[in-house]
Symmetry: C2
Subunit: 663 residues, 2 copies
């Protein structure tokens, strides 16, 4: 990083790329004051900012590695910026300041990616969006009927930028990355031609900069910064994790599926804790212990499954329902987040209310890790679980550590991941027992072994369907989350939106080329098609699990590479083709490792799929063996069962890939 | 107005009411810089502001009647504020400034009204909304199916604050009014408890303040400021203006309606210029001359109507279609608004394109007045017309006067009104020939004799139906627009939304108690019920015209009062009951003059209506003669044909009102 003084200011560059250019006429730092209204209803936040001041810090005084910034010469400095290694440490010198803006130099043809897990747009240029963990919305597109109905039913429709996992970090096509170290509400604005603007509702601790000669090296660097996940457990290579929530009947259904040829690595019963019927569908009973009524003799059942090479997985989240037994224990110990009056803050989850265990209280976090996850889950025999939610912390609560809930809100997913990871580590099972999360924030990479893409609608829609999972994998993958997967068939069935056999099959086809194949019955299992509800769907799924297992030697190599270098399993095409700018905007295809290119069919009623093959190599079509030169747009037949996939002609796994034709 | 210095600033009050309180810690003036993107599509504007600076002007230096404001002591002044009579004249001292904010002191229980013609909310406290003339939207409520469909079909749904006629003027329950003299995009923010905030995308010319001991006196003062309209023409008291656009057949249909007992003052044929079929419905041919094919022998027909005491009215707007003959004449004379390349700027009106006559060019304005309105309309025999549109000036055009189109946009409705008014005056027919407009802005009061409420949907919806017309009449009326009326039955029929007999009847009932009864066939006449399409509807309408005529002595008195004092015909309840705060939020009832209280039934399937009767008098129910004490909520029977209406027990028109029972 290099700081140069200029006639009326300074310039900052990293590895030859100019990042900041400050002059009195065009300052790059701004501070100010504002207030806000942030209201939460069922994980959706109505956020409104009211700005009182935005002051360009026009005057810079440079003293060694520190820049003192003020509104004008002779005015008191309001912000100190100190170069510390590859970061700009920021210090507010004015206690009234609670708003911060930074303008970063941009090129007109620059692309930017990242922002956490983004579902709608991979290349974020041209957009301005907030970073605030929340429900992602149902429909997420104001032009669709489902979004309209979800909005009308309770402002639940969402928009393109809503995500369970935001992160104020981006990668630029100019081969640098920028991370804002803050948990405050922030906004990335990539709409302007000449600059990007970062807005933070607080003075951030620092701005970190990363540069590298290649995208691969840049991603490795970010992964080292944010933390790496352990390799996949060996048992996953046995096949898919089958999600059933049918009580004891789940075991019989699993047996039927296996008899139909489905290769299985795990049985995931989120209803292991019992259920609660609601208008949204059957919900779970949030009191985190095995429900012996719904699953009689479960420990014995788990042991029998294990003997067959199949693990049992469950479900947990950071809330405790106030009609469960754990609620009283936690409340007596003072472990819950409090409201303004000092009472346990109850959160409405839709027909039931919960306390939030206060993870800023080390005793409460340790209690959750040990008493719930350790004893009731791991010791009980679980090898994994969905660690759900994490997005619902309101801003009007009081926390044990004294941190402002506005700053704690985005931290919650990472704290929640840590609670889970420490429980797994306490039993020495890191890398062998797993959990998967939808929420996230900066640092979740270090604790959470797998992301899952949250709750898609059970359809092919552009902003809430199958295709959004690819964007989510690519954006989060660039920021150091190597493992991503999704609910096969999607989750949310509302307003008459129902799964079709075609959707189930297309989703299975994609999932076979992701690190984890996992099915889900969805929010309304009885109304919706299940994998075992249609022989053709089941047969197709069985073959996809065989494909997944066939590819396991390759996947194992990718997993070891991820642990060593931090490269995600699913990668944007540009990661290995950075000189081919035509790849920069692609978000409906991905590389599965370096050597496989996967182009899922993500629209209904398609028997062909068009895609662009990156230049620099020839590509072999998996199902025909036909070779295509890179650097061209092609169209291939894509009937059900033949998801468009290609391997590099020079791959060392060529024989394995060629073998797919026989699976 | 009184300016006091305080330890670190100043305080400004008017008639004892403190309006501004400035200190270094809490300044009330702010300036800054920003840019914007304002894109127009068919009268709907996508407006996006991007703020670079908002500087509190913390330091005030007072020199006689001038306040010099700067960011801090020792910094150069950026704004000069000079007290001139009842205004604060503003002068920017910094050419980079293009944003302005003012904080006005507020009381927590204060109510505010005005903002031009507002359709959804009369009391604007708690809201923040822009002032920019535009299409008001179809549905105007994101929770309704129609709004969703209009948005999906082209972002045409709108929101509560969209209006053809904005005006940066408000009246406070603290008995003062504030007007911002600017035509720039501005925002009124009434959300805060302690202050109101005014935002302007320019430094306004001045802030005008008005105070009075009573609301009546305040409204009189505003009317004197903005201009008054002539009294209603005598011919209007003959009955309703019947809107038909059925070519020559219109005359036969009028005869049928008259035979059914309908009292008629005018026949309004907007299709007098010929029609153009489009997907929206039959549109008119925008080339402003009588169409002899559609209306053979029209001059003769008009003369015959006049002999029967019936006037003929037409239609005009400020655009000329590029497939008409006037277009070439105007283009050759250089009368059109130009695009960036200096060519005639063509505006898309949906399947056809038009030039906009440049009213900042005095020759073009005079040409439109004389050649089109004077010769082709007034001299032809028209006694009135709808002077439609005025909201469509884009901001990327060049104007003859050199004014920035961003500043001209909101001025356009007033310029358009002036063109019409001058044409009427040129023939000595002011107050006898009339026109009615939906668009408006500051100063339209001086030129436009009647407002009409624009294009409601043909339904009872909360934000786009019958009830919105009341809010529009009350808000615009307070700002000096004495005459307001609406399309009986509404206008916009889209997405299967069709007029019902009940809607037609409820709308007729309300219109009988407004200064002008005028029907409209709507945008899709053939799909929708017309007044003469159902004998029950026609009979009901005939009776309502008789009620209107019966009330004409009272209406004439109100009209003379309006000319003399500026009081609107339709008034909020609080205007004559200012000590009864329960009236301050009422927007679904109105006073018709001082003596009648009208509570239209504005929802479907109602046979009762609840309302609040203001205190201070007894109220006599028009249809039963029953007396009710003021100061209470009551419910009365409201079957079709008996719109809830009450008169003051002490009215000098008591006999006239009592006579309504026999009509």
């Amino acid at each position: 990083m290099k700081l140069d003084t200029t006639p009326s200011g300074f310039a900052l560059s990293i590895s030859g790329r100019q990042i900041l250019a400050h002059s009195a006429a065009a300052p790059c730092f701004f501070v100010g004051q504002g207030n806000d209204s942030i209201e939460m209803h069922r994980g959706r936040f109505a956020i409104e900012g009211r700005l009182a001041e935005r002051c360009p810090l026009a005057h810079a005084k440079i003293d060694g590695d520190t820049i003192m910034l003020s509104a004008a010469k002779g005015q008191p400095p309001r912000l100190a910026v100190t170069l510390e290694g590859k970061a700009l440490e920021l210090r507010s010198l004015d206690s009234s300041v609670n708003r911060f803006w930074l303008r970063v130099m941009a090129d007109r043809d620059e692309h930017v990616w990242g922002g956490g897990e983004q579902f709608s747009y991979f290349d974020l240029r041209g957009r301005r969006f907030p970073l605030w963990s929340s429900e992602p919305g149902v429909g997420r597109d104001k032009t669709t009927e489902i979004t309209f109905k979800a909005d009308a039913a309770g402002q639940a429709g969402g928009d393109y930028y809503h995500t369970n996992y935001p992160q104020p970090t981006y990668i630029s096509s100019a081969r640098y990355a920028l991370h804002v170290e803050t948990s405050a509400y922030s906004v990335l604005d990539f709409r302007e031609g000449e600059f990007h603007e970062i807005e933070v509702w607080s003075v951030p601790e620092s701005i970190e900069l990363f540069a590298a000669p290649s995208f691969v090296a840049l991603v490795e660097t970010l992964s080292a910064r944010f933390g790496r996940q352990p390799p996949l457990p060996e048992w996953i290579y046995n096949g898919a994790i089958i999600g059933l929530k049918d009580g004891a009947n789940s075991f019989a259904r699993l047996a039927t599926m296996r008899a139909a040829g489905v290769k299985v690595s795990g049985l995931w019963c989120e209803d292991w804790v019992g259920i609660r019927p609601t208008a949204f569908g059957a919900r779970l009973f949030w009191d985190w212990k095995a429900n012996e009524t719904r699953y009689p003799g479960l420990r014995q059942r788990i042991a029998e499954l294990n003997d067959q090479g199949i693990r049992f997985l469950g479900y947990v989240n950071p809330y405790l329902c106030n009609d469960g037994v754990l609620f009283e224990e936690a409340e007596n110990a003072g472990y819950f987040v409090k409201d303004a009056s000092g009472q346990t803050a109850l959160i409405d989850f839709g027909e039931f209310h919960c306390g939030t265990v206060d993870f800023t209280n080390p005793d409460a976090a340790a209690w959750f890790s040990e008493e719930i996850i350790g004893k009731r889950m791991l010791d009980y025999g679980l090898s994994g679980w969905m660690a759900d939610f994490g997005e619902y912390l309101p801003v009007d609560v009081r926390l044990a550590s004294g941190i402002d809930a506005r700053l704690a809100h985005n931290l919650w997913p990472t704290l929640w991941a840590e609670v889970n990871a420490k429980a797994v580590a306490s039993r020495g099972r890191t890398g062998e027992a797993v959990f998967f999360m939808r929420s996230g924030f900066t640092g979740v990479q270090k604790w959470c072994p797998w992301l899952w893409a949250g709750d898609q609608s059970v359809d092919f829609s552009r902003h809430d369907g199958l295709v959004t999972v690819i964007c989510a994998a690519l954006s989060s993958g660039l920021l150091g989350n190597a493992y991503h997967h999704s609910d096969i068939g999607g989750y949310t069935s509302l307003f008459g939106n129902l799964r079709t056999p075609e959707l189930m099959m297309r989703w299975s086809e994609m999932a076979a080329f992701t690190p984890v194949m996992r099915s889900h019955e969805g929010n309304r299992p009885r109304d919706n098609l299940q994998l075992d509800g249609d022989p053709a769907v089941l047969e197709h799924f069985a073959r996809m699990t065989a494909i997944y297992v066939h590819l396991s030697p390759y996947l194992r190599t990718l997993s070891l590479e991820a642990a060593r270098r931090g490269l995600p399993i699913q990668r944007p095409l540009f990661l290995h083709h950075e000189d081919d700018r035509r790849t920069y905007g692609i978000q409906d295809c991905y590389l599965y490792g370096r050597d496989l290119l996967v182009a899922p069919v993500w629209q209904a009623a398609q028997d062909q799929r068009s895609l662009y093959l990156p230049s620099g190599t020839d590509w072999i079509h998996v199902w025909t063996g036909k070779s295509f030169a890179g650097g061209q747009e092609i169209s291939v037949a894509a009937p059900l069962g033949r998801p468009p996939a290609f391997y590099r002609a020079d791959s060392e796994f060529e024989a394995l890939f060629a073998g797919l034709r026989q699976v």
